[in-house]
Assembly symmetry: C2
Homo-oligomer: 600 residues x 2
C-alpha cells in the first residue's frame, strides 16, 4: 500500500516494465497524494503555468512549480516545444474547486511536477497533430508517424489489434484451429497476371508473391490438419487503383469434413464473438440470398441491404408498347424494362438513352419525357406497381437484363448518396447489415472470348451437388458452392467448398477451363492421395475493419499504407537499385525510350 | 442428454461445425452405446475384420459388420486402400474382454460400422506415412502433404500454434501490446545485400522484402503506439545455406519508455507464460553474462551453458617459457595460451600447430608432444590450475586472443558432440538453458578494411550511457545497449535500446559508419519530431520452436519449407516466367553464357 507522497517500492515500477508508474489517461481522484511518474508528449503548453502531457491512453495536466527552489524544473518545462517527449515525476493533486475539466477523464486532478527529464525536444511540426486529418493525404502519408499520433488513428490500430486477437481466441482456443504460416515466396499461378515476381539467384527463375494461400490451405487439409487459419499477408499487383493496396491481409480459414452451413455458422459466430462491444452487437444467422435474387432485386451481387429501393420488373406493363426504344429493348433476348423508385427523389440527373426519368407530381401526374408516350392506363399501372407517391422519382431502364440490372443497381447507390448529401438519411450509419450471397454461377463467359468459360471465382470451387451432372453437359448452368459475405454493400469475404477429387478437378481444369493442368500437378496428385472434403473462406481484414470504424479508406486502418500509385511516401519506396545489386538476380532494367518503346 | 444408441439432436452436430460428431481420439468407455460419426483416414486395414481410422486427434478401431444385411457397408470398407478418406457412422462398443489395447487411448472401445461414406480412395502412396521420417528429405518435401500427416509433424505444427497463441495473449491481453502489421514491400536498406528485390511497374524502381520490421517498429514508437508486437514474416536472401530459410518468422517487439531490464523481464515472463507444459517449466530471471565474459569463458558469444569445460587462461604458467611456438604466441599483442579440459577425454584429434594435445595418464604424467618441453614444475602447475584428473584431456592453444578463444570455443562444442557420440552424456537433452549476453561492442572493424568500423548489430543501437562520450573519441571501445538471448548455445533472439535522438543517430551514420544518411531521411526526421526512448527485441520463432521440440532442423517446424537451395520441391518454385509476364516490370533476364559471363 502506497502512502501519500512516497516513492513506490521498486517492484511496482518494475512490474509496469517501463519507466512510468502510471499512464496519462488513468489518473483520477483516487490517486490524489500519490507520487507518480508519467511519460509522454507535450500536447499543449500554457505560458509557464501548466503542460498537458499525452500518451496513448489520454491526457494529464502537469502543473509547473512556481517556487524558487524548483526553478530548474520550471525552466525545463517552459523551454519545451509542442510534441516534445518528457518524463515527469510529481504528486497527484485535486484541482482547485472550479478548475475541474468535466470533458477530460483526468479533469479532476493535476500533477505538480517535482522532477522532469527531457528525452527529446521536438522541432516545429509541419502542422498540428489534430489538423492532420484535414491535410492532404499525401502529406499525412509523408509524415505518417505524426499522423498516427492522432486519437483517431490510435483508436483504429488498437481496435484492429483487439478484433484480430478475439478472432484468434475464438478459432484457436475455442474451436481447435491451428495457426499455420504458409510461404509467400511461391510460384506463379497459371494466369496469375496480378502477381508480383521476385527474381531468384538462379537465372530466369522467379518466385511469385501469392494473392492468397489458396493452394497451401487446401494442401493442409490433405495433410490432415483438419482446421487451419492464418492472418495471411497477400499480394496483388493491380497497378494504380483507388483504395487497393499491393499487400493486404486476409483472415484465412479452411476446414475438413465441413459443408457450406458449417463454414457460415463458424464465420457468424466468430464475428459475433470478436465484434467490438462499443459497436453494439450483431445478430446471427445473417440474411442469405442467392446470386439470382441479389441481381434481380438489387442489380448487384453485393447488395447494400440497409435500404430498400429495389429493382421492379415492369416489362409486362409495356408488353404491348409501341414506344420505339421500349419495344426494341423488349424484342431482344432477355430484354427487360425495370424501375427503381426513389422516395422523395427530387433529384435531377441527365437521362441517357437507356434510362428514363419519371417525376411523380404532387397531383399524381407524371413529369417526364416519356409522359406523352404513355397512355393513362399504363401510367396508372406503373404508379400502382411501383407504389410511387407524389414527390417520388422513378428511374426506368430498358435493355437486356445484363445491362439493365447493373445500371439500376449502380444508380440505386448513387441516389442513396445523393439523397444523403442533400440531408435526407437513407442508410443508418451505425447499422451493420451482413448478408450471405450464395449459388453463384461456377463459370462465366470470358469477356473477350464469350464462347469460352472462366471460373467465376477460382478453379477449385466445387459445384452444387445437384448441378454436378451439368458439368458434362451444360457447364455454364452449373452453380458453385461459393459464398460471399457482404457487409453494408461491400464484399468483405468469400469462400467455397472445394473440389476434393482429382478426377473432377482435372476435368474442370482441362475440359472446361482449357488450362494446362501441369502447373497444378502437386495439387492434383495430392487430391489422389486421400483428400478429405473441405472448404473455407477468406475475409478481407482491412476492409472489414474500415467498415467497423467508419473509415473512408482502408488506408485509415493500415499503419503504413501505400499511396494509390503503390508508393510509400514516407520512405520513398519503390526505389532505384544499382546494377551491381541486380547482378546476383540475373536481370536488368529495360528503360523506356522517348518513343514509348523500351531500350536496354 | 443423449440416450444410448440414439441419434444426437441436430444442434449438437451443428455445434461441432463439421460432419463428425466426435474425433477419433476422444472415444472411451464413457461413450459405449453412443451413436457416433467419425471422419478420417484409413490407417490400417485388417482383412475384412476391422479398419483403424485416424484423424488429427488419434485412432479408433472400426469393426466391419459381418451380417448379410450389412453387406454393402462391408464391401465398401473392404475395398478401401490405406490413406483413403471415409466417414463412418455406428455404435461405440466395449471391446470383448482380452482384446483391449492398452497402448491405444481408445483401446477399450471400437465402433461397429453401420453406415460408411467413402470420400476418396487413395492411390498407392510413394511410401508409408510412418516411414517418411526415414526417407530422404527431398522426398519428404516433394510429398510434404503426406509427410505432414505424421504424428511428429502434426505435433510440431500444433505446438507452434499454441506457443504463439500464448505469447499473443501475454502481450496483447496482459501487457497492452498492439499487434501492428508492417509492410513487406519496402525499400532497400543501405547495404542490404541480402534483400530480395521486387520489380514494380515503374521502370527501374524496385521494392525490397525487408529482413525485419526494424525501421517500422521504431517509427511506431515515434508514432506513440507505446507497445508494439508482430509475428512478422521476414526475408533474407543468403543463397544456399544449410538450415536457413529465405523467409522466416520473428516475434517482433518494441516498447517506449523502457530500459534493457524492462525488455529482458518482459521476454522472460513471456517465455515462461507460453512455455509448453509438457516441456517442464523454465526458471526466471535467466542467467546474464557480458560479451567479454562469454568470450573469455566459452570462446563464443552464444555459449552453450548446459556444460562446463570452460576456457582457462594458462599464459602465466608459460610466462618465462622458451618453447618456441609458445614464446612467439605470447610475444605478440594480445598473445595468450589457453586450455580446455575435456573430462575423460580419451579422444584423439589431429593437433594443428596452434593446438596442443595433452593426455593426462592414470599415473598423473602427461602424454603429449609438449611433454618433453615442459619442466616438472610447469607440469604440476598446469595440472593444478586446470584441475586435470587422470584420464582427462587437455587441449592447449596458443596465439592471439582473437584466434585462440574461437578455436577453443568451437573445439569445446566438438568435444561435447564427440563424447556424446561415444555414449558419454555431456548435455542434458531435456534441459533448456537460457542466457542473456550483454555489453557487446557497438562497432567492429570491417573484415576487409579493418581501419573502418561497421555496426556489430545495426546502426540504431544506442551506446551504454557510460560509454557515450567514447563515441567521439574511441568509438571502437563503445559498448552497445544490445542483448542477445541464447538458448542451449543457439542465438534465438536479439535486441537493443535504440538511439532516440536525431543528432546522435546522424553522428553514428555519418561520422562513424561513413554511410549516406539520405537513405534514412525519414527516420532521422522522425527522431526530430518527438521520439521517445525505446527499445525492443526480435526472437527467431522457427529456431525457438525447433529447439523446444528437439527437431534437428527448422524445416521440421515449418509447414512448407524451402530446400537448402531455396526451392519448394512440392510445387517447384522458383519457376520460369514468360517474357510477356516480365514486360510490365521492365526487366529482362541476363542469361549466363557458357564462358561464365552473361548475355542478354
Amino acid at each position: 500500500d502506497q502512502s501519500l507522497g512516497e516513492i513506490p517500492p521498486a517492484e511496482d515500477v518494475r512490474d509496469s516494465l517501463s519507466l512510468r508508474t502510471h499512464t496519462c489517461g488513468e489518473l483520477n481522484v483516487d490517486h490524489v497524494g500519490k507520487w507518480v511518474t508519467l511519460c509522454g508528449w507535450v500536447q499543449y503548453l500554457r505560458y509557464d503555468l501548466f503542460v498537458i502531457l499525452r500518451d496513448f491512453s489520454g491526457l494529464t495536466q502537469i502543473l509547473v512549480p512556481q517556487e524558487e527552489s524548483a526553478s530548474k524544473v520550471k525552466a525545463d518545462l517552459c523551454d519545451l516545444t509542442v510534441e516534445s517527449v518528457i518524463m515527469v515525476t510529481g504528486t497527484v493533486r485535486k484541482r482547485p474547486a472550479g478548475q475541474e475539466n468535466k470533458e477530460m477523464p483526468t479533469g479532476e486532478i493535476e500533477v505538480l511536477a517535482e522532477n522532469v527529464e527531457v528525452f527529446n525536444v521536438s522541432k516545429k511540426l509541419p502542422f498540428e497533430i489534430k489538423e492532420f486529418v484535414k491535410k492532404s493525404e499525401s502529406l499525412r502519408m509523408q509524415y505518417r508517424y505524426l499522423d498516427l499520433r492522432s486519437s483517431r488513428m490510435q483508436k483504429n490500430l488498437r481496435l484492429r489489434s483487439q478484433l484480430v486477437m478475439k478472432m484468434r481466441e475464438f478459432l484457436c482456443n475455442e474451436h481447435g484451429f491451428v495457426d499455420v504460416e504458409t510461404p509467400t515466396l511461391f510460384k506463379r499461378t497459371p494466369g496469375g497476371a496480378k502477381e508480383f515476381v521476385v527474381p531468384s539467384r538462379e537465372p530466369g527463375l522467379f518466385y511469385s508473391l501469392p494473392q492468397s494461400p489458396q493452394q497451401f490451405k487446401q494442401l493442409l487439409m490433405v495433410a490432415g490438419v483438419d482446421r487451419y487459419f492464418q492472418i495471411a499477408r497477400c499480394y496483388r499487383d493491380e497497378g494504380s487503383k483507388p483504395d487497393r493496396q499491393p499487400e493486404f491481409t486476409q483472415v484465412d480459414i479452411e476446414m475438413s469434413f465441413v459443408d457450406q452451413e458449417g463454414i457460415r455458422t463458424l464465420v457468424e459466430s466468430m464475428l459475433q464473438h470478436s465484434w467490438p462491444a462499443e459497436k453494439g452487437s450483431i445478430q446471427v444467422p445473417f440474411q442469405t440470398m442467392t446470386y439470382e435474387e441479389a441481381m434481380r432485386d438489387y442489380g448487384v451481387d453485393k447488395p447494400d441491404t440497409r435500404f430498400n429501393m429495389k429493382l421492379t420488373d415492369i416489362s409486362d406493363i409495356f408488353s404491348s408498347t409501341q414506344v420505339e426504344f421500349l419495344r426494341s429493348a423488349l424484342d431482344q433476348p432477355e430484354g427487360s424494362i425495370q424501375a427503381i423508385l426513389v422516395p422523395c427523389g427530387a433529384v435531377r440527373r441527365k437521362p441517357s438513352h437507356e434510362l428514363s426519368l419519371v417525376l411523380v407530381r404532387t397531383d399524381g401526374t407524371l413529369k417526364s419525357p416519356l409522359k406523352k408516350l404513355l397512355s393513362a392506363s399504363v401510367t396508372d399501372v406503373l404508379i400502382k406497381k411501383t407504389q410511387a407517391q407524389p414527390g417520388d422519382l422513378l428511374l426506368i431502364a430498358a435493355g437486356t437484363l445484363h445491362s439493365v440490372r447493373p445500371l439500376l443497381g449502380s444508380l440505386r447507390l448513387q441516389c442513396a448518396e445523393l439523397l444523403e448529401s442533400h440531408g435526407r438519411p437513407v442508410r443508418d450509419p451505425l447499422a451493420f447489415h451482413f448478408l450471405w450471397v450464395v449459388d453463384f454461377p461456377l463459370f462465366l463467359p470470358k469477356e473477350d472470348e464469350p464462347q469460352e468459360l472462366e471460373s467465376a471465382h477460382h478453379p477449385f470451387t466445387a459445384p452444387l451437388p445437384e448441378d454436378t451432372a451439368l458439368l458434362f453437359t451444360e457447364p455454364h448452368k452449373v452453380r458453385g458452392q461459393h459464398y460471399d459475405l457482404v457487409l453494408n454493400g461491400c464484399e468483405i469475404g468469400g469462400g467455397s467448398i472445394r473440389i476434393h477429387r482429382a478426377s473432377e478437378q482435372l476435368y474442370v481444369l482441362k475440359n472446361i477451363l482449357k488450362e494446362d493442368p501441369s502447373q497444378l500437378t502437386h495439387l492434383l496428385e495430392a487430391l489422389d492421395f486421400g483428400a478429405p472434403p473441405h472448404g473455407g473462406i477468406a475475409l478481407g481484414l482491412d476492409r472489414l475493419v474500415s467498415i467497423i470504424v467508419g473509415a473512408a479508406s482502408i488506408r485509415d486502418v493500415i499503419a503504413f499504407p501505400k499511396s494509390f500509385r503503390g508508393h510509400d511516401l514516407m520512405s520513398r519506396a519503390p526505389d532505384t537499385v544499382s546494377d551491381k545489386d541486380l547482378t546476383p538476380y540475373h536481370i536488368y532494367v529495360k528503360w523506356p525510350t522517348k518513343q514509348g518503346g523500351e531500350e536496354k
